[in-house]
């Protein structure tokens, strides 16, 4: 199946003095269909933001290809974006940085309204956009600093919606916000996907939040997707030990204090990634086959890159999780 957004075997490589070649994204494939929310979770440094930038065409991949509606996404340059790619928009983590502080909200929204909309219809479009994100029409005359963080993120979403996108890539869109505005922004994004039949790649380090809203969840570790599954199944029965460790590390509310489970070790430097399975040095189930990179095994509607799921490699006594 190819989705509306089709990321296939993408690699992102950085070269830096002293560290040599760093493979931040080491071959990732992901599909996002219209009307679908795909959650991408992983810890800092796992490559999820690098992948987001490639997916939206901000940087070129060093290998692999990203297709949007069947056409390869061309990396952003000085030229105007092809009209077809305007349907692919991004919402960033920090609404303080993504809005221009010196221009009114209305002017910034108008930038995104397609040139085919003319005259008074342009103003109407701005009003519609503000209305859609639950902001008053008067917001158009004001500047970004006159709004709270949550309101600003809603305005940044309105800006992303201006060209009527079919796909939104949201990179940690609520991380900087408080609990109550977090819920407002997340509900807005989910509502947009459902109402407008958009696709959304929702990138977050907050597993509980992704669990709440995503149809499919993909888990990244050190540049690779280690597991991908319908969210409910992933949460109920993770098939990769790293997914299990992430779920167990989420603090829960309960009648008595109970510390979340800890995971041994630190995330290795991607410049010195372990050979074989990259999770091996921290994995409680590591065994002989893990010296080789595990293939991504199709487990029927879901996939995981772990030798424990390969009956020919895994001893029957080792539980999958």
């Amino acid at each position: 199946m190819t989705g509306l957004l089709d990321i296939s075997d993408v690699e992102v490589e950085y070269r830096s003095r002293g560290r040599g070649r760093v493979l931040a994204v080491a071959g990732v494939s992901l599909d996002v269909a219209a009307g679908q929310i795909v959650g991408l979770v992983g810890e800092s440094g796992c490559g999820k933001s690098s992948l987001a930038r490639v997916a939206v065409g901000l940087t070129p991949p060093s290998a692999g290809v990203v297709r949007f509606a069947g056409q390869p996404v061309t990396p952003l340059g000085w030229r105007r974006r092809p009209d077809t790619e305007i349907g692919l928009q991004m919402v960033f983590q920090n609404p303080y940085a993504s809005l221009n502080p010196r221009r009114t909200i209305g002017a910034q929204l108008l930038d995104g309204v397609p040139a085919t909309v003319t005259g008074a219809a342009r103003r109407d479009r701005v009003r519609e956009l503000l209305d859609r994100v639950g902001m008053p029409t008067t917001a158009a005359e004001r500047y970004p600093h006159q709004f709270s963080g949550g309101q600003r993120q809603r305005l940044a979403i309105a800006r992303a919606l201006a060209p009527q996108p079919r796909m939104i890539i949201a990179d940690e869109p609520v991380t900087a916000l408080d609990a109550s505005s977090q819920a407002q922004v997340v509900n807005l994004l989910v509502g947009l996907v459902r109402d407008l039949d958009m696709g959304m790649l929702f990138i977050s380090h907050d597993l509980a939040l992704v669990h709440e809203i995503a149809d499919i969840t993909a888990v990244m570790y050190l540049g690779r997707v280690v597991e991908s599954a319908p969210t409910r199944e992933l949460w109920r029965n993770p098939r990769h030990p790293y997914t299990r460790a992430l779920i167990d590390a989420v603090p829960r509310i309960g009648p008595t204090p109970r510390l979340p489970a800890t995971l041994a070790g630190e995330v290795p430097d991607p410049a010195n990634a372990p050979t074989g399975c990259r999770f091996r040095p921290r994995c409680p189930h590591a065994f002989a086959p893990c010296g080789d990179q595990p293939p991504t095994l199709d487990l029927g509607g879901r996939s995981a890159a772990c030798w424990l799921n390969d009956p020919t490699a895994a001893p029957a006594t080792v539980p999958a999780n």
């Binding site: 109550s180 907050d206 969210t231 590390a249 009648p255 489970a261």
Partner: protein, 326 residues
């Protein structure tokens, strides 16, 4: 036995561009020796300012009333020298951003031993020995080498653990941790929570843990305070507080977090936003956003009143609150 920290009717007013801004109102809280206490609330609710008051770090021109006693010392009456003796050796603090808290151009070892030499009057050799012990205690691998490292050579989680080691260097009895895990990943957060709990068990350290994450509050602390607009609106044993809240704001915060029930769109945002300092309505500060508000809520701010053993709430309505299991 008297609590280690005993804050009573604390009120803080800061100078603002258009006159004084009341930030904290009538805050009372206690922390016992070896107790893990949680302080929860959204940004701007006054939880960090409470911490600053307890360390004498308020900006010039701040007006403070009420009392704050720490191990028998009246904190609010301290002069500069008095504060120097309390900070670090009595009460220490860990901040949200370890990168900003650590000096980028001094080695971790230098930052660790500086404290001990001043407060504990240790010579260089014994200070180094204790520094190695501390780094080992916070589970930093290869402590001898870590002493010579600079903060940028550490990962985020290691930096926060180093910041905790520095805070502990002069053997404080109370550690105030202000959102210490907010910037960290869940697996790293789990490690920090386990570390604080272990330090409490092994050394009798008391911890006041400030967080907006109710999951963290529940996982770590035994007693909690919920702040709203500069007031304590509810307090009690953390488990009871979060599984059977009695203040509509506590219940609303619980409703706004992901439930882990995979029912799409079940985040229930709290309408509106918290009032800015000085702009709180008369009466209960939460009343404009509260689904249970009655006319009585608009007159005077409700006092914190006991509802059960160890539990108090500042709400005159006390509605029956539905809380979904999560």
């Amino acid at each position: 036995m008297a609590p280690l920290l005993d804050v009573d009717s604390l009120a803080v007013t800061l100078p603002g561009p258009r006159g004084p801004l009341p930030i904290l109102h009538d805050v009372s809280l206690t922390v016992d020796e070896g107790e893990l206490v949680g302080i929860a609330g959204e940004s701007g609710c006054g939880k960090s300012l409470t911490a600053q008051t307890l360390l004498g770090l308020l900006p010039a021109g701040a007006k403070v009333t009420g009392t704050a006693r720490f191990a028998g010392t009246d904190l609010l009456g301290l002069d500069n020298n008095g504060w120097q003796r309390i900070r670090g050796a009595g009460i220490a603090m860990v901040f949200q951003d370890p990168t900003a808290a650590l000096h980028p151009m001094l080695t971790v070892g230098r930052q660790l031993t500086e404290h001990m030499r001043v407060h504990l009057r240790l010579d260089r050799r014994s200070a180094t020995r204790r520094a190695v012990e501390l780094l080992d205690q916070v589970r930093i691998p290869d402590p001898e080498r870590a002493l010579r490292a600079y903060p940028h050579q550490f990962s985020g989680g290691m930096r926060q653990r180093a910041a905790i080691a520095i805070a502990l260097a002069a053997r404080p009895r109370l550690l105030i941790a202000d959102e210490p895990t907010t910037a960290l990943d869940v697996t790293v957060q789990a490690g920090i929570l386990a570390l604080l709990d272990r330090l409490r068990a092994e050394t009798g350290l008391a911890v006041a843990f400030i967080t907006h994450d109710l999951g963290v509050l529940s996982a770590l602390t035994t007693r909690g305070y919920v702040f709203y607009a500069g007031r304590v609106v509810e307090t009690g044993p953390t488990g009871a507080l979060l599984t059977a809240p009695t203040h509509p704001y506590t219940a609303a915060l619980l409703g706004a977090r992901p439930h882990g029930t995979q029912a799409v769109g079940t985040l229930r945002p709290i309408p509106g936003a918290p009032p800015a300092p000085g702009e709180a309505p008369p009466g209960c500060p939460f009343q404009p956003r509260c689904g249970y508000a009655e006319p009585a809520c608009g007159t005077v701010p409700p006092p914190l009143a006991p509802v059960a053993a160890d539990r108090s709430v500042a709400c005159v309505v006390r509605p029956h609150l539905e809380v979904t299991a999560r």
